[in-house]
Protein backbone atom coordinates (compact mmCIF):
# COMPACT_ATOMS: atom_id res chain seq x y z
CA UNK A 1 0.00 0.00 0.00
CA UNK A 2 1.36 3.35 -0.95
CA UNK A 3 0.54 6.43 0.98
CA UNK A 4 -0.21 9.45 -1.11
CA UNK A 5 1.56 12.64 -0.17
CA UNK A 6 -1.79 14.28 0.48
CA UNK A 7 -2.98 11.53 2.80
CA UNK A 8 0.28 11.61 4.69
CA UNK A 9 0.09 15.36 5.10
CA UNK A 10 -3.51 15.16 6.17
CA UNK A 11 -2.84 12.52 8.80
CA UNK A 12 0.17 14.43 10.13
CA UNK A 13 -1.90 17.59 10.37
CA UNK A 14 -4.65 15.68 12.15
CA UNK A 15 -2.17 14.20 14.60
CA UNK A 16 -0.69 17.62 15.28
CA UNK A 17 -4.11 19.12 15.80
CA UNK A 18 -5.35 16.47 18.22
CA UNK A 19 -2.15 15.97 20.24
CA UNK A 20 -2.44 19.19 22.27
CA UNK A 21 -6.18 18.63 22.65
CA UNK A 22 -5.60 15.27 24.27
CA UNK A 23 -2.95 16.70 26.56
CA UNK A 24 -5.35 19.45 27.64
CA UNK A 25 -8.56 17.46 27.89
CA UNK A 26 -9.40 17.90 31.52
CA UNK A 27 -11.27 14.94 32.99
CA UNK A 28 -12.35 13.10 36.13
CA UNK A 29 -8.96 11.47 36.50
CA UNK A 30 -7.11 14.80 36.57
CA UNK A 31 -9.46 16.13 39.24
CA UNK A 32 -9.18 12.90 41.20
CA UNK A 33 -5.37 12.75 41.04
CA UNK A 34 -5.03 16.42 42.04
CA UNK A 35 -7.08 15.86 45.20
CA UNK A 36 -5.40 12.50 45.93
CA UNK A 37 -1.98 14.19 45.71
CA UNK A 38 -3.23 17.10 47.84
CA UNK A 39 -4.60 14.74 50.50
CA UNK A 40 -1.28 12.83 50.45
CA UNK A 41 0.72 16.03 50.97
CA UNK A 42 -1.54 17.22 53.80
CA UNK A 43 -1.29 13.81 55.52
CA UNK A 44 2.52 13.88 55.22
CA UNK A 45 2.73 17.31 56.87
CA UNK A 46 0.44 16.17 59.68
CA UNK A 47 2.50 13.03 60.25
CA UNK A 48 5.85 14.88 60.04
CA UNK A 49 5.61 15.94 63.70
CA UNK A 50 7.22 19.31 62.88
CA UNK A 51 6.68 22.40 65.00
CA UNK A 52 3.60 24.53 64.38
CA UNK A 53 5.30 27.30 62.41
CA UNK A 54 7.11 24.86 60.12
CA UNK A 55 3.78 23.06 59.52
CA UNK A 56 2.00 26.31 58.70
CA UNK A 57 4.75 27.20 56.17
CA UNK A 58 4.26 23.77 54.60
CA UNK A 59 0.50 24.36 54.40
CA UNK A 60 1.07 27.71 52.71
CA UNK A 61 3.22 25.96 50.07
CA UNK A 62 0.54 23.27 49.60
CA UNK A 63 -2.17 25.92 49.24
CA UNK A 64 -0.06 27.77 46.64
CA UNK A 65 0.61 24.57 44.71
CA UNK A 66 -2.83 22.97 44.61
CA UNK A 67 -5.30 25.83 44.67
CA UNK A 68 -6.27 28.52 42.21
CA UNK A 69 -4.95 31.25 44.49
CA UNK A 70 -5.66 34.17 42.19
CA UNK A 71 -9.28 33.06 41.73
CA UNK A 72 -9.84 32.51 45.46
CA UNK A 73 -8.31 35.89 46.30
CA UNK A 74 -10.32 37.69 43.60
CA UNK A 75 -13.55 36.06 44.79
CA UNK A 76 -12.85 36.86 48.44
CA UNK A 77 -12.32 40.53 47.63
CA UNK A 78 -15.59 40.61 45.67
CA UNK A 79 -16.77 43.87 44.09
CA UNK A 80 -14.20 45.84 46.08
CA UNK A 81 -11.60 44.22 43.82
CA UNK A 82 -12.78 46.50 41.02
CA UNK A 83 -11.50 49.64 42.75
CA UNK A 84 -8.21 48.05 43.89
CA UNK A 85 -4.95 48.96 42.14
CA UNK A 86 -2.78 46.19 40.72
CA UNK A 87 -0.30 46.66 43.57
CA UNK A 88 -3.15 46.32 46.09
CA UNK A 89 -4.45 43.19 44.36
CA UNK A 90 -0.95 41.65 44.49
CA UNK A 91 -0.48 42.60 48.15
CA UNK A 92 -3.94 41.26 48.98
CA UNK A 93 -3.24 37.95 47.22
CA UNK A 94 -0.01 37.48 49.20
CA UNK A 95 -1.53 38.42 52.55
CA UNK A 96 -4.58 36.28 51.83
CA UNK A 97 -2.50 33.17 51.06
CA UNK A 98 -0.70 33.42 54.37
CA UNK A 99 -3.96 34.04 56.20
CA UNK A 100 -5.70 31.01 54.65
CA UNK A 101 -2.71 28.75 55.38
CA UNK A 102 -2.65 29.85 59.04
CA UNK A 103 -6.40 29.63 59.53
CA UNK A 104 -6.98 26.26 57.86
CA UNK A 105 -3.56 24.86 58.80
CA UNK A 106 -4.47 25.25 62.48
CA UNK A 107 -7.65 23.26 61.82
CA UNK A 108 -5.67 20.51 60.10
CA UNK A 109 -3.76 20.00 63.34
CA UNK A 110 -6.98 18.44 64.61
CA UNK A 111 -6.41 15.90 61.82
CA UNK A 112 -3.50 14.30 63.67
CA UNK A 113 -4.12 10.55 63.64
CA UNK A 114 -6.93 11.04 61.12
CA UNK A 115 -7.23 10.63 57.38
CA UNK A 116 -9.06 11.91 54.32
CA UNK A 117 -10.48 9.48 51.77
CA UNK A 118 -11.54 10.33 48.23
CA UNK A 119 -15.06 8.97 47.48
CA UNK A 120 -16.31 10.16 44.12
CA UNK A 121 -15.78 12.66 41.37
CA UNK A 122 -18.65 14.26 39.50
CA UNK A 123 -18.76 16.75 36.65
CA UNK A 124 -20.57 20.06 37.20
CA UNK A 125 -20.71 22.23 34.07
CA UNK A 126 -17.05 22.97 33.24
CA UNK A 127 -15.54 21.76 36.51
CA UNK A 128 -15.46 18.74 38.82
CA UNK A 129 -16.53 18.09 42.38
CA UNK A 130 -14.34 15.69 44.33
CA UNK A 131 -16.08 14.46 47.45
CA UNK A 132 -13.96 13.12 50.31
CA UNK A 133 -14.65 11.88 53.82
CA UNK A 134 -12.58 13.02 56.78
CA UNK A 135 -12.12 10.48 59.57
CA UNK A 136 -10.93 12.20 62.74
CA UNK A 137 -10.31 10.74 66.14
CA UNK A 138 -13.28 11.06 68.50
CA UNK A 139 -15.54 12.62 65.85
CA UNK A 140 -18.11 11.26 63.43
CA UNK A 141 -16.80 11.15 59.84
CA UNK A 142 -17.68 14.28 57.87
CA UNK A 143 -17.73 15.39 54.26
CA UNK A 144 -15.12 17.60 52.59
CA UNK A 145 -15.76 18.45 48.94
CA UNK A 146 -13.29 20.16 46.62
CA UNK A 147 -14.21 21.91 43.37
CA UNK A 148 -11.53 21.56 40.70
CA UNK A 149 -11.21 23.45 37.41
CA UNK A 150 -8.54 24.00 34.77
CA UNK A 151 -9.45 27.68 34.40
CA UNK A 152 -5.81 28.69 34.94
CA UNK A 153 -4.51 26.16 32.36
CA UNK A 154 -3.92 23.33 34.81
CA UNK A 155 -6.18 21.50 37.27
CA UNK A 156 -6.39 23.36 40.59
CA UNK A 157 -9.05 23.47 43.30
CA UNK A 158 -10.94 26.74 43.56
CA UNK A 159 -13.35 26.03 46.40
CA UNK A 160 -13.78 23.68 49.33
CA UNK A 161 -16.87 22.71 51.36
CA UNK A 162 -16.70 21.24 54.87
CA UNK A 163 -20.13 19.72 55.66
CA UNK A 164 -21.63 22.20 53.22
CA UNK A 165 -19.73 25.22 54.55
CA UNK A 166 -18.30 27.08 51.57
CA UNK A 167 -14.75 28.45 51.83
CA UNK A 168 -15.22 31.15 49.17
CA UNK A 169 -18.36 32.57 50.77
CA UNK A 170 -16.94 32.33 54.29
CA UNK A 171 -13.80 34.23 53.30
CA UNK A 172 -15.66 36.82 51.24
CA UNK A 173 -17.82 37.52 54.30
CA UNK A 174 -14.68 37.85 56.42
CA UNK A 175 -12.86 40.16 53.99
CA UNK A 176 -16.04 42.25 53.64
CA UNK A 177 -16.23 42.61 57.43
CA UNK A 178 -12.55 43.62 57.57
CA UNK A 179 -13.19 46.28 54.92
CA UNK A 180 -16.23 47.58 56.85
CA UNK A 181 -14.20 47.75 60.03
CA UNK A 182 -11.61 49.86 58.21
CA UNK A 183 -14.12 52.18 56.55
CA UNK A 184 -13.49 50.59 53.14
CA UNK A 185 -9.72 51.24 53.23
CA UNK A 186 -8.10 48.42 51.24
CA UNK A 187 -4.56 48.93 52.56
CA UNK A 188 -5.76 48.88 56.18
CA UNK A 189 -7.78 45.71 55.44
CA UNK A 190 -4.64 44.04 54.00
CA UNK A 191 -2.57 44.90 57.05
CA UNK A 192 -5.33 43.49 59.32
CA UNK A 193 -5.38 40.31 57.26
CA UNK A 194 -1.67 39.80 57.89
CA UNK A 195 -2.36 39.65 61.63
CA UNK A 196 -5.36 37.30 61.38
CA UNK A 197 -5.76 33.55 60.98
Amino acid sequence: MTLSRRALLASTAAALATAPLQALAFNENDANSLITALVGDINRVIDSGKGENAMLRDFERIFARYSDTSYIAAYAMGVDGRRASNAQKRAFSDAFQGYVARKYGRRFREFIGGRLEVNQVKRVKQWFEVSTTAFLQGQSPFNVTFQVSDRSGKPLFFNMFIEGINLLLTERTEVGALLDRNGGNIDAMISDLKKLG
Binding site: S70, N86, K89, R107, G164, T173, D180
Partner: protein, 253 residues
Protein backbone atom coordinates in the same frame (compact mmCIF):
# COMPACT_ATOMS: atom_id res chain seq x y z
CA UNK B 1 -32.79 22.34 84.17
CA UNK B 2 -36.05 20.51 84.51
CA UNK B 3 -38.22 19.67 81.54
CA UNK B 4 -41.19 21.52 83.02
CA UNK B 5 -38.98 24.54 83.55
CA UNK B 6 -37.99 24.36 79.89
CA UNK B 7 -41.54 24.44 78.63
CA UNK B 8 -43.09 26.77 81.17
CA UNK B 9 -40.31 29.32 81.59
CA UNK B 10 -37.39 29.16 79.23
CA UNK B 11 -39.16 28.62 75.93
CA UNK B 12 -41.84 31.25 76.37
CA UNK B 13 -38.97 33.59 77.24
CA UNK B 14 -37.07 32.58 74.12
CA UNK B 15 -40.13 33.03 71.94
CA UNK B 16 -40.78 36.42 73.49
CA UNK B 17 -37.19 37.39 72.76
CA UNK B 18 -37.52 36.11 69.20
CA UNK B 19 -40.71 38.11 68.75
CA UNK B 20 -39.11 41.20 70.25
CA UNK B 21 -36.29 40.94 67.79
CA UNK B 22 -38.97 40.42 65.15
CA UNK B 23 -40.46 43.77 66.10
CA UNK B 24 -37.07 45.46 66.14
CA UNK B 25 -36.91 45.36 62.33
CA UNK B 26 -34.23 47.29 60.49
CA UNK B 27 -32.56 44.22 58.97
CA UNK B 28 -32.62 43.40 55.29
CA UNK B 29 -36.09 42.52 54.00
CA UNK B 30 -34.64 40.73 50.98
CA UNK B 31 -32.66 37.53 50.46
CA UNK B 32 -28.96 38.19 49.82
CA UNK B 33 -27.05 36.51 47.00
CA UNK B 34 -25.65 34.06 49.57
CA UNK B 35 -29.26 33.09 50.31
CA UNK B 36 -29.42 34.85 53.68
CA UNK B 37 -32.76 36.28 54.85
CA UNK B 38 -32.18 38.21 58.05
CA UNK B 39 -34.88 40.84 58.58
CA UNK B 40 -34.31 40.82 62.36
CA UNK B 41 -30.59 41.48 62.15
CA UNK B 42 -30.41 44.31 64.75
CA UNK B 43 -32.22 42.18 67.36
CA UNK B 44 -30.24 39.10 66.41
CA UNK B 45 -26.98 41.01 66.83
CA UNK B 46 -28.00 41.99 70.37
CA UNK B 47 -28.68 38.35 71.20
CA UNK B 48 -25.34 37.43 69.62
CA UNK B 49 -23.50 39.88 71.88
CA UNK B 50 -25.29 38.34 74.86
CA UNK B 51 -24.42 34.80 73.75
CA UNK B 52 -20.78 35.71 73.21
CA UNK B 53 -20.60 37.23 76.68
CA UNK B 54 -22.25 34.14 78.15
CA UNK B 55 -19.82 31.88 76.31
CA UNK B 56 -16.78 33.85 77.38
CA UNK B 57 -17.83 34.13 81.03
CA UNK B 58 -19.45 30.78 81.63
CA UNK B 59 -19.82 28.19 78.88
CA UNK B 60 -16.28 28.22 77.49
CA UNK B 61 -14.47 27.94 80.85
CA UNK B 62 -16.94 25.29 82.04
CA UNK B 63 -16.55 23.34 78.81
CA UNK B 64 -12.76 23.46 78.89
CA UNK B 65 -12.81 22.40 82.53
CA UNK B 66 -15.24 19.58 81.83
CA UNK B 67 -13.21 18.31 78.87
CA UNK B 68 -9.94 18.55 80.78
CA UNK B 69 -11.09 16.92 84.00
CA UNK B 70 -13.00 14.00 82.54
CA UNK B 71 -11.23 11.20 80.63
CA UNK B 72 -12.34 10.97 76.98
CA UNK B 73 -14.03 7.61 77.60
CA UNK B 74 -16.27 9.06 80.30
CA UNK B 75 -17.15 12.05 78.12
CA UNK B 76 -18.02 9.66 75.27
CA UNK B 77 -20.25 7.59 77.54
CA UNK B 78 -22.16 10.62 78.78
CA UNK B 79 -22.54 11.79 75.18
CA UNK B 80 -23.81 8.33 74.18
CA UNK B 81 -26.29 8.32 77.07
CA UNK B 82 -27.67 11.71 76.02
CA UNK B 83 -27.95 10.84 72.35
CA UNK B 84 -29.60 7.50 73.14
CA UNK B 85 -32.36 9.38 74.96
CA UNK B 86 -32.81 11.39 71.77
CA UNK B 87 -33.50 8.29 69.63
CA UNK B 88 -37.27 8.02 70.36
CA UNK B 89 -37.67 11.58 69.11
CA UNK B 90 -35.74 10.63 65.96
CA UNK B 91 -38.10 7.67 65.49
CA UNK B 92 -41.14 9.96 65.73
CA UNK B 93 -39.72 12.47 63.24
CA UNK B 94 -38.54 9.77 60.83
CA UNK B 95 -42.09 8.38 60.81
CA UNK B 96 -43.55 11.85 60.22
CA UNK B 97 -41.19 12.20 57.27
CA UNK B 98 -42.20 8.81 55.88
CA UNK B 99 -38.66 7.55 56.46
CA UNK B 100 -39.43 4.01 57.59
CA UNK B 101 -35.82 2.86 57.28
CA UNK B 102 -34.64 5.69 59.51
CA UNK B 103 -37.39 4.96 62.03
CA UNK B 104 -36.49 1.26 62.05
CA UNK B 105 -32.80 2.00 62.41
CA UNK B 106 -33.34 4.36 65.34
CA UNK B 107 -35.75 1.96 67.05
CA UNK B 108 -33.20 -0.87 66.80
CA UNK B 109 -30.43 1.44 67.98
CA UNK B 110 -32.48 2.53 70.99
CA UNK B 111 -33.37 -1.05 71.95
CA UNK B 112 -29.81 -2.33 71.43
CA UNK B 113 -28.04 0.51 73.21
CA UNK B 114 -30.51 0.64 76.11
CA UNK B 115 -29.92 -3.07 76.81
CA UNK B 116 -26.57 -4.33 75.49
CA UNK B 117 -25.21 -0.80 75.68
CA UNK B 118 -26.02 -0.58 79.41
CA UNK B 119 -28.72 2.16 79.47
CA UNK B 120 -27.13 3.80 76.45
CA UNK B 121 -23.70 4.51 77.93
CA UNK B 122 -22.13 2.49 75.12
CA UNK B 123 -22.99 2.83 71.44
CA UNK B 124 -22.84 -0.89 70.64
CA UNK B 125 -25.36 -0.46 67.80
CA UNK B 126 -22.65 1.40 65.92
CA UNK B 127 -20.47 -1.74 66.08
CA UNK B 128 -23.37 -3.65 64.50
CA UNK B 129 -23.32 -1.16 61.59
CA UNK B 130 -26.43 0.64 62.75
CA UNK B 131 -25.07 4.11 62.23
CA UNK B 132 -26.82 6.97 63.98
CA UNK B 133 -28.93 9.19 61.79
CA UNK B 134 -30.12 12.49 63.11
CA UNK B 135 -33.30 14.36 62.48
CA UNK B 136 -35.65 16.77 64.20
CA UNK B 137 -39.01 18.45 63.74
CA UNK B 138 -37.35 21.30 61.85
CA UNK B 139 -36.41 18.74 59.20
CA UNK B 140 -39.91 17.26 59.31
CA UNK B 141 -41.30 20.72 58.55
CA UNK B 142 -38.78 21.00 55.69
CA UNK B 143 -39.94 17.64 54.30
CA UNK B 144 -43.52 18.87 54.56
CA UNK B 145 -42.56 21.84 52.39
CA UNK B 146 -42.15 24.57 55.01
CA UNK B 147 -39.45 27.08 54.01
CA UNK B 148 -36.59 27.95 56.34
CA UNK B 149 -37.98 31.40 57.15
CA UNK B 150 -35.90 34.14 58.71
CA UNK B 151 -32.57 33.69 60.41
CA UNK B 152 -32.77 33.86 64.21
CA UNK B 153 -30.10 33.81 66.87
CA UNK B 154 -31.67 32.43 70.03
CA UNK B 155 -30.47 33.30 73.52
CA UNK B 156 -28.24 30.51 74.93
CA UNK B 157 -29.12 28.10 72.08
CA UNK B 158 -27.50 30.11 69.28
CA UNK B 159 -28.14 30.21 65.51
CA UNK B 160 -31.50 28.98 64.17
CA UNK B 161 -34.29 29.93 61.80
CA UNK B 162 -37.97 30.57 62.44
CA UNK B 163 -38.76 27.10 61.09
CA UNK B 164 -36.11 25.34 63.17
CA UNK B 165 -37.11 27.24 66.32
CA UNK B 166 -40.71 26.04 65.93
CA UNK B 167 -39.24 22.57 65.34
CA UNK B 168 -37.26 22.68 68.57
CA UNK B 169 -40.31 23.64 70.62
CA UNK B 170 -42.39 20.89 69.02
CA UNK B 171 -39.61 18.34 69.65
CA UNK B 172 -39.81 19.12 73.37
CA UNK B 173 -43.44 18.01 73.37
CA UNK B 174 -43.14 15.06 71.06
CA UNK B 175 -40.24 13.25 72.73
CA UNK B 176 -42.06 10.09 73.89
CA UNK B 177 -39.64 9.73 76.79
CA UNK B 178 -40.84 12.87 78.52
CA UNK B 179 -44.26 11.23 78.91
CA UNK B 180 -43.06 7.83 80.05
CA UNK B 181 -40.23 8.67 82.45
CA UNK B 182 -40.97 9.79 86.01
CA UNK B 183 -39.63 12.68 88.07
CA UNK B 184 -36.08 11.96 89.22
CA UNK B 185 -35.10 10.03 86.09
CA UNK B 186 -36.40 12.81 83.85
CA UNK B 187 -33.56 14.99 85.15
CA UNK B 188 -30.89 12.60 83.92
CA UNK B 189 -31.55 13.21 80.28
CA UNK B 190 -31.48 16.99 80.65
CA UNK B 191 -28.30 16.91 82.71
CA UNK B 192 -26.65 14.54 80.23
CA UNK B 193 -27.77 16.76 77.35
CA UNK B 194 -26.17 19.85 78.90
CA UNK B 195 -23.03 17.85 79.74
CA UNK B 196 -22.85 16.54 76.19
CA UNK B 197 -23.12 20.08 74.78
CA UNK B 198 -20.32 21.18 77.11
CA UNK B 199 -18.25 18.29 75.88
CA UNK B 200 -18.70 19.34 72.25
CA UNK B 201 -17.86 22.96 73.10
CA UNK B 202 -14.75 21.74 74.95
CA UNK B 203 -13.49 19.46 72.21
CA UNK B 204 -14.02 22.00 69.47
CA UNK B 205 -12.56 24.86 71.53
CA UNK B 206 -10.16 26.06 68.82
CA UNK B 207 -12.67 25.89 65.97
CA UNK B 208 -15.45 27.64 67.88
CA UNK B 209 -13.06 30.23 69.33
CA UNK B 210 -11.89 31.02 65.79
CA UNK B 211 -15.44 31.85 64.74
CA UNK B 212 -16.54 33.67 67.90
CA UNK B 213 -13.41 35.55 68.88
CA UNK B 214 -11.01 35.72 65.95
CA UNK B 215 -13.21 36.62 62.99
CA UNK B 216 -13.84 40.21 61.97
CA UNK B 217 -17.63 39.82 62.25
CA UNK B 218 -18.47 36.78 64.35
CA UNK B 219 -22.21 37.34 63.90
CA UNK B 220 -21.99 37.19 60.09
CA UNK B 221 -19.65 34.18 60.22
CA UNK B 222 -21.86 32.20 62.62
CA UNK B 223 -24.93 33.01 60.51
CA UNK B 224 -23.32 31.91 57.24
CA UNK B 225 -21.83 28.75 58.74
CA UNK B 226 -25.09 27.74 60.41
CA UNK B 227 -27.28 28.28 57.34
CA UNK B 228 -24.93 26.51 54.94
CA UNK B 229 -24.41 23.55 57.23
CA UNK B 230 -28.14 23.24 57.95
CA UNK B 231 -29.01 23.32 54.24
CA UNK B 232 -26.36 20.66 53.63
CA UNK B 233 -27.88 18.43 56.35
CA UNK B 234 -31.32 18.82 54.80
CA UNK B 235 -29.95 18.05 51.33
CA UNK B 236 -31.02 21.46 50.01
CA UNK B 237 -29.38 23.34 47.19
CA UNK B 238 -27.15 26.09 48.48
CA UNK B 239 -27.62 29.26 46.44
CA UNK B 240 -24.06 30.25 47.35
CA UNK B 241 -22.60 27.07 45.83
CA UNK B 242 -23.47 28.06 42.27
CA UNK B 243 -20.17 29.85 41.78
CA UNK B 244 -18.82 29.73 38.22
CA UNK B 245 -15.01 29.91 38.31
CA UNK B 246 -14.95 31.16 34.72
CA UNK B 247 -17.22 34.13 35.42
CA UNK B 248 -14.78 36.33 37.33
CA UNK B 249 -12.02 38.70 36.30
CA UNK B 250 -8.89 37.59 38.17
CA UNK B 251 -6.55 39.98 36.36
CA UNK B 252 -3.96 41.33 38.79
CA UNK B 253 -4.57 38.85 41.63
Amino acid sequence: MHFRFLITRLFPALLAAAMLSACAGGGSQTVSEEGIYDPYEPGNRKVHRFNRGLDRALVRPAAIGYSTVLPDEVEDSIGNFASNLGEPSIVVNSLLQGDLRGAGNSTLRFVTNSTLGLFGFFDVANEFKMVQHNTDFGETLHVWGVGEGAYLELPVLGPSTTRDTVGMVVDLFTNPLSYTVDEPEAYYGTVAGVASSLSTRGRLTDTIDAVLYESADSYAQARLIYLQNRRFELGQDDPGAAIDPFALDTEGF
